[in-house]
């Protein structure tokens, strides 16, 4: 049988974002608040 010379593609089983990234997003979401004033909306990041 002919040899296969092409490189095997790397298997990526664990294709999930890091826990830190998820935590950051959840904390960011908690910290972000939108203040509505008349017709204007302001973003406020309360860290």
């Amino acid at each position: 049988m002919a040899k296969l010379y092409s490189a095997c593609p790397k298997k990526q089983n664990n294709l999930n974002p890091k826990e830190e990234t998820i935590d950051f997003l959840l904390n960011y979401s908690k910290a972000l608040s939108v203040i509505q004033c008349n017709n204007l909306k302001f973003e406020a990041l309360q860290n």
Binding site: K18, L25, L26, Y28
Partner: protein, 194 residues
Amino acid sequence: MRHELITDAVLVKNYMNGDESALSTLINRHKQRIYSFIYSKVFDRDITEDIFQDAFIKVIKNLKLGKYNEEGKFLPWVMRISHNLVIDHFRRNNRMPKFDNAGDFNIFSVLGDSSLNAEKRMIKDQVDCDLRRLIQELPEDQKEVLVMRMYKDMSFKEISERTGVSINTALGRMRYALINLRKVIDQNNIVLTN
């Protein structure tokens, strides 16, 4: 399993009404697909992580600002945002290509900074200065030939024409100039290296 029963639309609505845990459920439900989608385009874990984060920051902002109108297409919407961010990433990289120097080929083997650092430059200046002073000690005829050859970059033919001596004499004076310089350097233990 309970979360699976709640549709994205309900979760988005809950989140927009202030339920932070709904976002957690949404992210956990779709993270793998979105992350894989980004990774399939950029093939770099760190960049994927960055784009994933940026995408959800946009999602959070849009939801909080009430810009998202629910049509039961939360996942395609996030995918579209991710896709646009991937395009932005490649566009930015095309404008300013980055070489990560990760493979077998090392860019610094062909690219170097040949200019001297501050210390080396000071040493070189000092050596040049010392050498000029030593040359001043040479006999006038030898000094003349050496200066013309080394500092003015003249050929021996030009030197012989300028000084009115034969080429052989000019060569001989140059030879003696170097011998004398070496002698003085040896006698005085002068170190002329950089």
